[in-house]
Amino acid sequence: AQSVSQHNHHVILSEAASLELGCNYSYGGTVNLFWYVQYPGQHLQLLLKYFSGDPLVKGIKGFEAEFIKSKFSFNLRKPSVQWSDTAEYFCAVNARGNTNAGKSTFGDGTTLTVKP
C-alpha cells in the first residue's frame, strides 16, 4: 500500500517569498504523482502531475515540482508567492500499471497563508 507524508501542516509567508512544500511517498513500485490545490470556498483542483520523463514538471500559476526518485520526494515550489496563493495544498500518488491504479492516496495537506 502507498502512503504520502507532507511535512508542513501550516506555512505562513509574505508576498514575494519563495515557497517549497515537502512531499514524500512510500511505495515499492512505480508511481504517478500529483499536487492538488483547494482555494478557500472552492473545489480541489489539479495543480500539476508527473507520470514520466523530465522530473521537473511545471503546472499552473507558476508552480513547479521536482520528482527525486532516490528520495521518494515530489516537492512543490514557487519562486515568488502571491496573496492569491493562500490555499490548502495536497500531494497525492497512485500506483502505475496496477489493477488498483484508480486509487489515489493523499497526504494530509499543507495550509499556506500568504500575508499581503
Partner: protein, 115 residues
C-alpha cells in the same frame, strides 16, 4: 460545461439513521471516485467505478457503506446506521478514464454531520 455536482451540500442526521449522498459526474466521464475527508486530513479513498461496476471498493470502512452507479453516470453513496465517526466531507470525483493517467475533477463535497 458543468462540473461534478454533489447533493446535498450539507446533511445533518441522527446517529443510527440511513443517508444517501448523490454525485453527478461530468458528462462522458467513465470513472467515478468517492473519497472521505475528515477535519485536518486529506481525502481518503473509498471506492471507484469504471462504468457501472465497482472496480475497487477496498476503501469502504465497513459493510454499513455501499455505493452504486446503476447506469454508469450518477452514483449514490449509501450509509446505514450512521455513527458519529462518519461525520466528514464526502467528495466525489470523475475522470475520462482511470485516474492513473487522467485528471480527476472533484465536486464540492457533501458535509455529513451525525449527531
Amino acid at each position: 460545461g458543468a462540473g461534478v455536482s454533489q447533493t446535498p451540500s450539507n446533511k445533518v442526521t441522527e446517529k443510527g439513521k440511513y443517508v444517501e449522498l448523490r454525485c453527478d459526474p461530468i458528462s462522458g466521464h467513465t470513472a467515478l471516485y468517492w473519497y472521505r475527508q475528515s477535519l485536518g486530513q486529506g481525502p481518503e479513498f473509498l471506492i471507484y467505478f469504471q462504468g457501472t461496476g465497482a472496480a475497487d471498493d477496498s476503501g469502504l470502512p465497513n459493510d454499513r457503506f455501499f455505493a452504486v452507479r446503476p447506469e454508469g453516470s450518477v452514483s449514490t453513496l449509501k450509509i446505514q446506521r450512521t455513527e458519529r465517526g462518519d461525520s466528514a466531507v464526502y467528495l466525489c470525483a470523475s475522470s475520462l478514464g482511470l485516474a492513473e493517467y487522467n485528471e480527476q475533477f472533484f465536486g464540492p463535497g457533501t458535509r455529513l454531520t451525525v449527531l
